[in-house]
Each structure stands twice: as C-alpha cells, then as structure tokens.
Symmetry: D2
Subunit: 322 residues, 4 copies
C-alpha cells in the first residue's frame, strides 16, 4: 500500500531561479513569482528543477531558495515541491532532509546524471537512498531523457524497464516498492506517451503522473494526464489551465487553440537565433517578474535578441508589461 498523500492535479510551475545582474541568488523576487502564479491560477511549484537551473546552484543556495519559497507559499496558496536530485548522494539526502524541515509538500528527484544507473535495480537503490532521507514526504521520480541521455546515447530506457512486465502479469515495481515506501509518482518529461500511459495504468493507477512536455499537454491529457509540470506555466498558466479545462468540458477545438498557443511559445524557445540563451527566463523578465539572466553556460540575451523576443511574444499573444 502506498503512503497517504494528495495526488497532484493541474499545473505545477517549474519556477525560474531569480538571479541579480551579477548572477547572485536574489530571493527577494520569489514573492513576485508567487503572486504572479497565484494570479494566473497556478497552485503548485517545483523549486530548483531543470527550469530552475537545479545543479547550477550550490547546496547552500538550494536551501536558501527553498526557504524563500516556504516563506511565501502559504500566503499565495501554493504547494511547495522541492527538487533534490544531485550527483553526490550526500547532497541529495541533505536537500531531502531540508525539504522536510521546511514543511515542503513533497520531493522530486532525478537520479545522478554523470554516473547514470545502468539498471532498474541501481535506480531503485539510488531513489531509496534519496527519498529515504525524508520518509514522510511523498516523492516523485524525475524522468528527463533529453537531458540525461537515457533512451538515446546511453541505450537505456528506465521507464520502459520500470513497467516492462505489465502485459504478462509479472510486475517489477511491486517487488521494488517496499524499498521506496514514499515513492508516489513520476515527473515524466518525454514525448513518448506510450510509456507514459503504461506508467499511468501501472498497477491499477497506483502512480501519480506529472506530464512534462507542455507543448503536447493536450495529447497527454487525452491519454490520461491530470497533472503537469513545466516552464511555460510560469507565465502562461492560463493557457495550460485552459487546455485541461476545455478538454474536460469536451471542447476539443478550443483546447487545441490553447495548445497551439503553447506550441507557438515553445517554438520561440527553439529559434536558432536564440541558441545558447534561455528565452523563457527572459520572457518572465519582460512580463515584469525580474528573475534576471541565466547562469552559464547559458548566456543572457542581447538587446537585439530582446527586441526580437518582444515581437515574438506579441505574435503569440503574450503582452509584455510596458
């Protein structure tokens, strides 16, 4: 049996980490982020995930940032989830314990990214080490093969393995479950909705799946997603919420229109002329929430790029604050 917890539904903003112009952490911006999310109907945040530049932060900074969110979250009706993944297990465990100490609502962790687990057993051992450090918090495993190389150059699909034996009745996770009693779900950041659905349907729906590719949210919703986490929900939560709402109301053509807006947004991220920058973070700046530049190896946008970005934002319907 799984631990009691509240499954996440709706949108989770993978919040940007605010830096000043010298790239120092600037937690004074967090309250503005919280207010913006509240105003756009987003009630969950994931702190220091990939969008939040996770491992570019030191352990001390990650704690400081989590504390800043803990301080403002209740005021803005926000549930606080902390990403604690790290390459050094001692760091991940320290972050997990810290998340518990500040009363976070839950943990999210990718496994180590430089030395990757090479089997389900190795993955489970690692998650047991991390999540075992905060055993009373519900925890989500973070699958993001575009960053870790799983599925691609590492020749390894962690989730296909996790769910490998559904069809013939031999399940692997039940065997493993006792080793991670607080594992309740998966943050699934990949286009593959086949594996996603296998995870959703696993063991009668035991897991809480959070879908991580905003640009095909509607497809995931049709396949069964009820929660989603992503970067566009920082500033376009209204659209993400509308995709879910219109889909549930059966207004597919409306849902597609909102989805198209998100698609157009993500297409901006991918423009060749913005290569090496973080357009989403700059969009936040332009919308009046000064999260600042990204740390390296990403570069801040040039003035010319920002001019173009404002035009792109206008074209997709994101109106910058004057």
């Amino acid at each position: 049996a799984i631990m009691p917890y509240t499954p996440i539904t709706g949108l989770v903003a993978a919040v940007y980490t605010p830096f000043d112009e010298q790239l120092a952490l600037d937690t004074s911006v967090v309250v503005k982020q919280a207010a913006y999310l509240n105003a756009t109907g987003v009630h969950h945040v994931l702190v220091a995930g990939t969008t939040g530049e996770s491992v570019k932060l030191t352990v001390a900074e990650r704690k400081q940032l989590a504390e800043a969110w803990a301080a403002v979250a209740p005021t803005y009706g926000i549930n606080l989830f902390i990403h604690v993944g790290a390459n050094a297990m001692a760091d991940a465990q320290e972050l997990a314990r810290h998340a518990a100490s500040i009363k976070a609502a839950g943990l999210v962790a990718m496994s180590s990214t430089y030395f990757r687990p090479s089997s389900v057993d190795a993955l489970v051992s690692q998650l047991a080490d991390i999540f075992g450090a905060a055993p009373l918090l519900p925890a989500w495993y973070y699958h993001i093969p575009s960053m870790t190389g799983d599925n691609y150059f590492r020749g390894f699909d962690m989730h296909a393995l996790l769910v490998a034996d559904i069809t013939d009745g031999e399940t692997s996770l039940p065997t493993l479950r006792p080793r991670i009693p607080n594992l309740v779900g998966i943050k699934f950041t990949d286009y593959d909705l086949y594996t996603f659905k296998r995870c959703i349907d696993f063991n009668g729906g035991e897991f809480n799946l959070l879908y991580g590719r905003d640009e095909q949210l509607l497809g995931a919703a049709a396949m069964g997603a009820e929660g989603a986490v992503g970067s566009t929900y920082n500033f376009a939560g209204v659209w993400g919420n509308a995709v879910f709402a219109e889909f549930k109301s059966g207004n597919i053509s409306k849902a597609r229109e909102y989805q198209r807006s998100i698609v157009n947004l993500v297409a901006i991220y991918g423009k060749a002329e913005y290569a090496g920058t973080d357009p989403g973070k700059e969009i936040m700046n332009q919308l009046g929430v000064p999260v600042g530049p990204p740390r390296g190896p990403a570069k801040p946008m040039t003035a010319d790029q920002i001019t173009q970005l404002r035009a792109d934002m206008k074209a997709v319907g994101l109106i910058p604050v004057a």
Copy 2:
C-alpha cells in the same frame, strides 16, 4: 495551390508482405489480407512500408506485390498507397511510375536512408526527384526517425526544419512547394506531437498528416490527427477505429480503454523474449492470415515463442483462430 486529392482519414494498414516458408514472395495471400481488413473496417493500405519489409524486397518484387494489391483492392473497397522509397533514386522513380501505371491512389516515400539528406534543401530535391516521376499522384513524405537516425545520432530533425519558421512568419515550405507540386502530406512516425502539431497547423492546415505511432493514437487524435497508419491496423483495426470514434463522440474513457488495448499489443512487440523476431507478423499468422515468417535479419519465432505469443494475445484480447 495544392493539387486536388482526397485527404486520407481513418486508418491505413501498413500491410505485411506475405512470404512462404522459403521466404519467397507469396502474393496469393493478399486477397486474404484484403478481406480481413475489409471485415475490420480498414479501407486504406500502405504497401511495402517498414511493416511490409520495404527494402528487403527487390524492385521486381515490390512491383509484383503492388500489382497483387491493385488486383484485389477494388473488390474490397480498399484505397491503395504504395511506398516507393529506396536508396537508389532510379529505383524509387521506377516504383513511382509503376504505382501510377497500376492506378494507385497515392505515393509514400521516405528519403534515402544510407546516405541521408543533410538539409531541407537536399530533402526537397530528393522528394522532387521521386515524386516528380509520378506527378499526377498525391504524395506523402515518410518521417520515421527511429529507423533513419534523424533526431538522434545524426543530429538532425527534418521536420523541425520543415516547419522551423512558422512563428515569425517566415515559412520555408511555400518557397519549396513549387518544386514538389504533388506533395500533399506527411506520414509522421514519431512520438513528438509538438512537431506533429506544427505540421498539422502549417500554412492553415495545408498538409494531410498521417500519424504513425499506434500506441499513442489517442494523444495524436487530441492534437488533431484524423488519419493514421500503422502495423496494428492489420489485425486490430477495430480498436484503432474505436479510438477515433469514441474520441469524436466525446467518450474519452472509452477511447482510453481501446487505446490501452493497443498499448498492451505494442508492449508484446517489445518483450525482451521476442527480440530479433517480428511478433506482429506472427500475430497475423495466428489470426488465420498466413503472411508467413519475416525475412532476415529478423528471425521466425520458435515454437516456444509462438506458444507464449498465443498466451499474450489472449491476455490482451486478440483471439487466435483455432
């Protein structure tokens, strides 16, 4: 302006190529395949695609097979699409001319797979060469990066490029369109519904998109797919049709159930114990349509594997013919 043609909607079976036990082409089976498809509500076929073992056939065999389908298609109300992709352009062109001569309804072609196009311009030149050989037939470009390595080890995403400049109003395809007047659509075999939707929405919906990952058909339908091509529609067209129909009727939970059946089916394909075989082709055999073994490098299933396969089929609800 695009040439007049009838867009494909609903399911296209990527038909298996029937071989006898000595792996010789056995066109006598084609009529049984046609009857089976007709009985399960599938009214389009793609001949000699990837499922049909395409380039394992000689050019002479591909023509012979196409002719066999042309002979039975009208009787069974089947529209005939011929895959003509090949590494030698002269072969592809010959196959395209042949498809026209037998009154096929349309052409499908992947570009060359050993020497890959390395730019959109090179791709378009190649498609112009192929499709130009049968200029009165509507034609679909075939995108299948899991086989060609595009998106992965080749570091190149053909479709992202095709649609690269939608957002800012600079479109690339309109410039290219005059070079391939009979290009009407794309057979899109990838999980990435973001790029898929960009193709659907391209130029106000100019292209006819056929979705090629049966295992996430429902997600694609939500994003806007109205046609699909795949291997499971050879024997489980009823399920694929039901996914589309229930989705359109707003019965999402019903649609998910049918999708789950397809997911379970595709999970059989991927079972480690069947590695190196072609489980889908053997399913056809077990269902009473004797398409025979696959050619190498795939292996026929052993007796033990077939016993297990029959149990797997039963578990997912595919009842073998006694």
Copy 3:
C-alpha cells in the same frame, strides 16, 4: 581452418564512381582512375563502397561498374574487390555471384542498413546468406558504425560482440565460423582501435583487418594494421603508402608528417562551408580524373566552393592539374 587466400596488405582505394553531368554512370573514366592509382602505388580497389556511392546505384549499374573495373584491372596491376552489400538479400547475392563471374579477387559486404541485425547470430546468418552466394571468393565484413548507427543510436556494437569473449577463453566466432567458411577479414571503419586490436588478435591473428579511417592510419599501423581502405587513397595514395613505409622503417617523425597531410586533407572534407557536398570527389576532378559530381542527396560544388577547394588543396600540398 580458413580458406586459402592472399591477405590484403597496403592500400585499397575505395574508388569513386564516375558519373557524367546528368549523373549517368560513365564507365569510360575507370581506366583513368586505374592509371592514376597505378601511378601512385595503389594496387587494390574496392568498387561501390561508401565512397563509391554504393546503394545510390541500381543493381544493374553496380554490375556494369564492376565489369568496367574487371576489364582494366589486370592492365594496371590492380586487385579487384567488390562491395556487394544491399538491403535486399537477393540483390546482395546476385552481386556476389556476379563478382565471382568476373573473377574479382574478393567480396566486401556491410550488412543490411535499414533493418539492422540485432544480434551476432542475426549478423552471421546474413553474412552467411550473402557470402555463401560466392563461396570460392574470400570475403570481408564491413563495419562502419558512423553510417549504420551501430555503437550510437542503435545501442549495439557488433564488433565488441564478435570478440566479446576473448579474455576468458570463450570465443564466439569459432562457433560461428563453419557458417561462413569464406569470411577472412573485416573492413573496420571506426576510430576505436581497442576493438580493432581485439579483432586483429582474435584467434591468433586469424582475420585480415583493413583499417578504414585514413585520418588515423598511423595509430592503426602502430596497433597492428597492415592493410587499409579509404577514400584519400584515390588521390593521395603516396601519403598513405609513406605512412606505412616510414612507420615500418622506424622513422616515426616522418610518418607523422605524412599522417598530418592526410589529417589536413580530411579536415577539408569536414569544413562547414562544404556541408552537403562531396569534397573528395571534387578533388579527383580537380586533379584531372573526371569522376564528375556526386548523386543526391549530395550536391555538386558551386563554382565558389571549387575556387575555395583549389586553395585548400594547395594549402595541404595537393596540386591541381592546370
């Protein structure tokens, strides 16, 4: 026991396939290629390999080309090896039989490239099918993962498997050997000299290894290579021969100088401004051996590119014919 044959030592030119301006096969150029090779001390050719645009040719063209080489080879003291790999086994077998009929010295074959073997057993079955069609000719397996995707996106290293169990005395190939009696060696086109050396040392040196990365020939020679096949030996065989000769004479610094010339040559191939063209083939044209343009998807060089190429050739010490 292996069949009696003469191991290949020294350079094998992977010859360019001559086309006229309309991209039709022009076998009249073959005699000029043969004379050029003879004059530069190259005494083996591989016809219709990757450099020779292999699968861009139809089966009929591949035969015609092989016959053209057979006609001139004796006059110029050239040993003739024919690449017969194809996706359709019937085509590969026909080409193998044809090679025997024209008295080629040997066969080379890559396995199928679209549908890849997924195990050593599948590979061996396929090679047995191909090489069994010309059982009296010695045969070399062609390993080129940069083109087939093995080692990379396919997560599969055929050669590591072939030699997987050397250390602990369990050899896999001896078991397999009876299935391909005429397999005598491997054309090894990869940077990995570790696997290369394992192949060289396999079973006491049973295999004849041909090294295929001209740009690190000296490294391969040190590891034990005595034969090599590549594109630069079409026009810079003098340098390749000198690398081998100086190395054998113990003049390492001289050998490095010649190797550096080949490195500089290959660096031309990789220049971004030549992307999508075939600079090596154009170098041949500039040197007075009119092999013509490449077939698509490669593009002919523009006049500007050719001007630049002539400057590049001069910089590395390849003097164009006036």
Copy 4:
C-alpha cells in the same frame, strides 16, 4: 604566449577514491596508493577524476581528499593534479582555489555536464570562470564525450570546433586564448585520434595533450602522445610505461605485446557479467590496495564476481596479492 609550466609526459594515474565499507571517505588508504604508484613508476596523479568518482563526492570530501594527496605526494615523488569540474561554477571555483592553496601542480576540469555548453564560446566562458579562480596554476580541459554525450546524442563535438579552422589558417583559439591564460592542455578521452592529432598540432604544438584511452595508448603514441592519463595506470603502470618505452626504442612488436595486456585488462572492465560494478576498483583491492567498493549507482562486486575477477586477472597476468 602561454604561461610557463612543465608539460606532463608519461603516465598520470586517475586515482581511485578510497571508501570504507560504509562508503565513507577513507583517506588513510592514500599513502598506500602513493607507494604503489611510486613502486610501479607512475609519478603523476589526477585526483577525483571520473575514475575517482568525482561528482559522487561532496565539495568538502573533494577538498579532504586533495589534502590527503598533498600530504603524501612529495614523499613519493608524485605530482598532484586536481580535477575541479562541477555543475555549480561556485563549487568548481572553490575547488580550484583550494587546489592552489594546497600547492597542487595543476588543475583539470570538465565543463558542466547536466547543462552543457552549446558553443565554443560558452565553453571558453565557463573554463575562464573555473580556471580564472586559480590563475597561477596550469590547467587542462577535460574532454570525455562518452560521459557527457558530446559527439553523440548532443550532436556536438567540442574539440572539432576548437580546432575547426586550422586548415585554412583561421584559428579560433588564439582569439580565445586571452580569456584563459592558464589553459595549457587537454585531457583527451576519446578514440578519435584524428581530432587528437589536430589538437596536438594546433598552433605549432602549443597544447600539452594527455591521452585518456589506455586501451589504444600505442596508437596515440604513434600519433604523437607523450602523456597519458587513465585508470589502468593505478595498477598496471608498468605496462603503460613499457608501451611508451618500447615504442620510443622502436620495438614495436614488444610495445604491441604490452598494449595487448592493457587491452585484455580493459576487456575485463567490459564483461557483461560485471555490468553495473567497477571491476578496476576491485582489481586494486585484490592487488592489496584497499580502495574499497564504489559508491552508487555502481554496485560492489559479489563474492562470485570476485572469484571470477581473480581468474580474469590471472589470465591477463595481474597477480593478486595472496
């Protein structure tokens, strides 16, 4: 002009990090490692590189380990190089400053591995940030695409770019050099000796290249390597030294024999039955230098695996201490 420094020649052991059975850092073993290296003729160490489980250690542990080596290095005639690469630049900079404070001989750093630089400019900015923190220490950039995914799924070859414009005289690094005045070389861990040679020859031999694939050291030596860093030099430095020495003396066949021993050793690492473990680290244990088990996600070897490993060691000529 480059800063004054002593180029590294000969072998650098990428030393294992000693842990006790509870996986706590056990610096008491360092002196035994140093003595073993001294006895086998290895006079340089790289601390906390990939072999040393780098980012599995916390920043505090990395400092503690570096200090332990600094304490014993002079006694054993060992030059101390510290790997300082990390995902958080503040961590890398702190480690660089610490390395300077303990009088290390030099720095080595990979760039960030989760968020990768996507251009040469981004890489150089990052190296400038790291190496600028200890500007008086000579520094080597660490290229290891098999771990970072460069060259493979990331579609990006950092070194090919670094040296991209050699041929035509436009060099990129000279422009960049002023930004990293203490960059003196590259630790090059890849099979590609073509790019390796381009780096060696860059700007007349300005860089000190350390070759990182022990299993093809002889090939690299032929191409010009005079220094090497790797894991096998922890316990088989005698062989690595002999490869260099015999090669320099012109005894190629002797050099090949020693290289073959290293090949056989590395083949043990790759045995399927040891997947998920760290055989090299266990070899050290068996040889009487108790560096202990690896941290996760690697697993300690089982008793059965160790029994097999001892047999493998014997087969390749590594005699365990009784």
